[in-house]
Amino acid sequence: MKPFLLLVAVLTTNLLATVVKDSDLAMKVTDIATTRKFLGMDSYSKFYGNLSSVKVAVLDKGFKGIYPAREDGRRFLPKSAEVIDAYAKALEDVRLDEEDPHGTHMAHLIWAMTGYQEEGPKFRLYNANGPENFLLAVEDLLKWKPDVVVFSQNWETFGNFDGTGFIDQAVKEVTDEGIIWLNAAGNDGGHIYNGPVKLVKTEKSDYFVQFDSNSNNTWYLRFKNLVDENQVTITLSWNSFDPGYEATGTDKDLDLSLFVQQSGQASKRLASSKLIQTKEKTGEENETIHARERISVTLPADKENYYLLAVNAKGEGSAALFDPKKDRMRITIRGNKGSFYDEDKKKNVDAIDFVDSTDTGEIPVPADGSGLAIGDLTANSAKGPTVDGRGKPDIIMQKNNVTFSDRQGFFGTSYANAYLGGVVALLRAAEPRTMQEDLLKFRIRYPLQYLAEQVQAQGWTISDVPVIDPVLASYIQEKWGIDYIVMTGPGGRTAVASSESVDKLSAWPKEVMDNLKDYFLYARAKRIATTKRERVPKEVEVIVKAGYYKPTTKRDLQKVLVKAGGNVAVPRTKTVNYGSQFVGIDLYRGTYGLYQPQLTLYYTENKYVEPEYDYKWVDVPGEPEWIPPVKKTETRYVYAQVAGEDRVEKEFRYQKKKDAEAPWDKWGGFPGDYVEIIQLPEFSFIGKGAVVDGSANSPRIWSTPSFEKLQRVVRAREIR
């Protein structure tokens, strides 16, 4: 197209775009301009005129305010939006929940991200309340052919958690049509147990599952409920779902029971779920074709005693059908009380403490399927991998919360998903040939795997890879069972990198370095710590996030800091060259809904600058607290001590001085005395990919897929 014509075209599309007046809206998103900018969309209003050709399907359980519509005529969506509440083929009349605004929020966020244009996108809102409606919604949208589907619900059953099952199969039919499917990863982080169905015969010829748990007794799973009147739903599901669309049943039959531990007495059975699994429906009472059991109970709080879950097979015949090498089960616990502020612990704690959760493999159905699973940075965001070993979630969105102009706030992976939905909708307006695969460029990378591949590509053997930080190496080795850690940054500017390692890494292909340049490293680790006095092993969890960013001004830097933590201040320290490269390392523990860094270390040109703000380590009960690092120094170590032990702190300070000379000599000998030493320069390469599971145990590299970056990806693909 000639430049003149192009200009006319752009002007024409702009003229077509109409921003809906505030007085027509029921509410708006308060900080949408900031979010659009953060996601690289603010300069692309020229594509708004194309939104009329973009179709967005939102599947959900309720669209309050849209269905039924408001009496005052104020709207949440363009006039063209349609609601599909009932389906002609529906066997059961499960209608939309008229009190549930979740779907309204999803659609409205997408619209807000695309500039509140009257012309579009075109929304179709589907009733997906229950699996049957979900399937019918999919059937309908396959005819409608939307550009993108946004689904922010999920199930803790109805699939095998490996991307198969009738729900996942339906999603696959959608993605096979080239339709982009965005699915929230769910907020069940820490609330799930996964394990094999390993049945053991009892004296009475019952068959009970022996769990993979840390408990002394592996015949049950333990959890605590800390809030009274918590309406808890416990779902047992196992991988006996037909991988296809037919949803044929199974005769592999498990039952689920809930007990409460009583001090000094026998445990007491509170409830059980004993459905009869069948291959085909016969009309018998209590039968189901689905491989699941569910207990819904209102539980009282009990800080002292555990609630116990036991799983058994229904008779010898059913037990014989299970193979512990192939058959796997999942238990998910959800409560209607989320988290609360604990006055004693001075922090937010989860109402349900599932102590035997596996803390991995938490992706629900259909987030485990062929669509993209979108997670966030909170501890509750479900973690991968899927049962078949795929790393999920696919994409992490840093932005996961919203405040509407009615001043109600919400957060979670649903909202992270809706933001990405907005990005994708505008992208389809700008680049109609955008595909789901383009978004995969922003898939989370699991560096253990990635770096192992790179090391091999270099023709190196593992022993060639230089070890730069033996302390961190031993730490990582202990946790992840791998041998070496390689750490460096381009140009070898970091003090930790030895010249040898820099030489090595400078030989790495430019493509490798470029590929990592814009990414963050996100690692999560647990370690057994021992107090010096008591020698009592305690577990501490630390999440390490290293980032790379190029601020150009002090103001820019401030934005980065605020973005990262929300409560940090720009270091007032003097001789900092803000124009140079900058790396932030945040140690934080995700609290529910809050992104709250406890400690941030900043590196600039060969200098370490300690930010001047109070560190707030949200401690884990009985676990060590963090001590801020020493004042401005080249030694970049963070130490921990056990809460309340002053003596340890003094020793620590003394020791720290010595450590500065040769830290690993000292630390190598007493790995249990203090906890973490985190030492990450700009890039952290962790070598020898012994563990490659994409799980929470594996560090992740992630980046928010902004509009601008995605557009570059799409255009680059088209040029190729």
Partner: protein, 462 residues
């Protein structure tokens, strides 16, 4: 031990044991989590608690919501029944005459009763609770009559009205409270949360309007439902029969462009009232407010009657159920009545002469004086927060009233002869201000300290 045996030994542990239901009740229901903390906060003597026998004490709670209490003892699970209050508790949600029902989602009344029970010892046999629906004027009247007939010892009322009284302790609602509190009954009244939500104005007429600029409402959160109430002091101070008034005001709400949003144009009349007419000096309307139409203007029109600005006064109340939000720097109300009064925001019947009105240091807790210049609330407590085991935490004048009600119950439970006169005397001595006065000062709560059992004993002997 082989595997089979080990499994069996574990399963033995899982056998159902036969604990009685009554044991479960205590363990399972949500209750006050911090009773010791609250008692300590008010210096409540442990002797007072240990020697209390609340079994004969009758406590009436008036509120418009008791969610949860209606299905007390309902079986929720095989192992779980709801039990918030003693078994003797009775809930009166409906009366023989038509009245508003209880608000389904509102549970403040139940929480108040729970607080009283927990602080007074959580005994199985007492106190005896009657929970009365007081939602609206008719229900309030029926509740007041019923509790007088029952002979309640202590009444804790969380309900307040923006109308139905002259804000000087007179009017139909106050007369009901007078009748109850004038005997030996201890009536503890929440001060309500009307500070900054009211404007009191003399009724000076100019061209059928108020002779002053229209009051404004600013909106900070979209889609906020506001209730606007206009009331003026045209209520008969008596009680026998209310004949109404012909002093007629109307209220109209305009947005920032002058478009009418809502109005209330009831015609005030004396004697029998027909359609669109009322005996009561009140106009009320609700409207959903939005930021883009803010500020809103409230026009008050004089439709009928002779008003004297020296004696006739109106009160405009603008309220919402929407909670304040944090705007990044401070707590912000969803809507604000511009120039709303903090002083003289005491509602009806918190202005009652015989009731003990309890305020708190909550920012919206109503403040005195009353229209006739009396100090109200009688007591301002910054009140310990009541926390419940289902992780709900409540503070404010309603809970402060409940906590003070619990103290009254404890006194009564120790000394059956304890009555309203003793109560007022005890309160005076509980207020440790230098002059012994009960000052409705927002920072004076620290001066409150409960009297010990011995002190109450001596006080009654006097």
């Amino acid at each position: 031990m082989d595997t089979t045996l080990r499994v069996w030994s574990v399963l033995l542990l899982l056998i159902v044991s036969g604990r009685s239901f009554s044991d479960d009740v205590k363990r399972l229901s949500s209750k006050l989590e911090n009773p010791d903390e609250v008692r300590k906060y008010y210096d409540i003597d442990s002797d007072l608690l240990d020697k209390a026998d609340a079994s004969g004490v009758k406590v009436a709670v008036l509120s418009k919501g008791f969610r949860g209490a209606e299905d007390q003892d309902a079986k929720v699970e095989d192992f779980f029944r709801k039990r918030y209050l003693p078994q003797s508790m009775k809930l009166f949600s409906e009366y023989d005459v038509a009245s508003f029902g209880l608000e389904g989602r509102n549970e403040i009344g139940r929480r108040v009763a729970q607080t009283i029970w927990s602080l007074s010892g959580l005994a199985d046999d007492g106190p005896e609770f009657h929970l009365y629906n007081a939602n609206g004027l008719v229900a309030f009247r029926e509740a007041a009559n019923a509790l007088v007939e029952w002979g309640a010892d202590v009444v804790v009322c969380t309900e307040n009205f923006s109308a139905f009284g002259n804000f000087d302790g007179t009017g139909i609602v106050n007369r009901l409270v007078d009748l109850a509190a004038i005997g030996e009954m201890i009536w503890i009244q929440s001060a309500g949360e009307f500070a900054t939500k009211v404007i009191n104005l003399p009724i000076k007429v100019k061209e059928r309007k108020l002779d002053q600029p229209d009051p404004q409402v600013k909106v900070f959160a979209d889609d906020t439902e506001a209730t606007l109430t206009l009331s003026w002091n045209a209520y008969s101070p008596g009680f026998r029969r209310f004949y109404g008034t012909d002093k007629d005001l109307d209220m109209i709400l305009y947005d920032n462009k002058g478009t009418e949003v809502a109005s209330s144009r009831t015609r005030q009349v004396e004697g029998d009232a027909g359609d669109g007419e009322s005996n009561f000096a009140v106009e009320q309307m609700t409207a959903k407010l939005f930021k883009d139409r803010s500020p809103y203007y409230i026009r008050i029109r004089i439709e009928n009657g002779d008003f004297d600005p020296r004696s006739d006064e109106l009160r405009l109340t603008v309220d919402t159920d929407r909670r304040p939000f944090f705007d990044g720097q401070k707590e912000q109300s969803a809507i604000e009545l511009v120039d709303g009064n903090r002083e003289k925001s005491i509602p009806v019947p918190a202005d009652n002469k015989w009731a003990t009105t309890v305020g708190s240091t909550h920012p919206f807790s109503s403040e005195g004086p009353t229209a006739d210049g009396r100090k109200k609330p009688d007591l301002v407590l910054d009140g310990a927060e009541s926390r419940y085991t289902d992780k709900v935490a409540i503070s404010g004048p309603n809970i402060a009233a409940a906590q003070l009600g619990a103290l009254a119950v404890l006194y009564k439970a120790n000394f059956p002869r304890f009555n309203r006169k003793h109560w007022l005397l005890a309160l005076q001595r509980s207020s440790l201000t230098p002059k012994g006065e009960l000052k409705p000062d927002r920072k004076k709560s620290a001066y409150f300290g409960a009297r010990s059992r011995d002190e109450i004993h001596d006080l009654m002997e006097e």
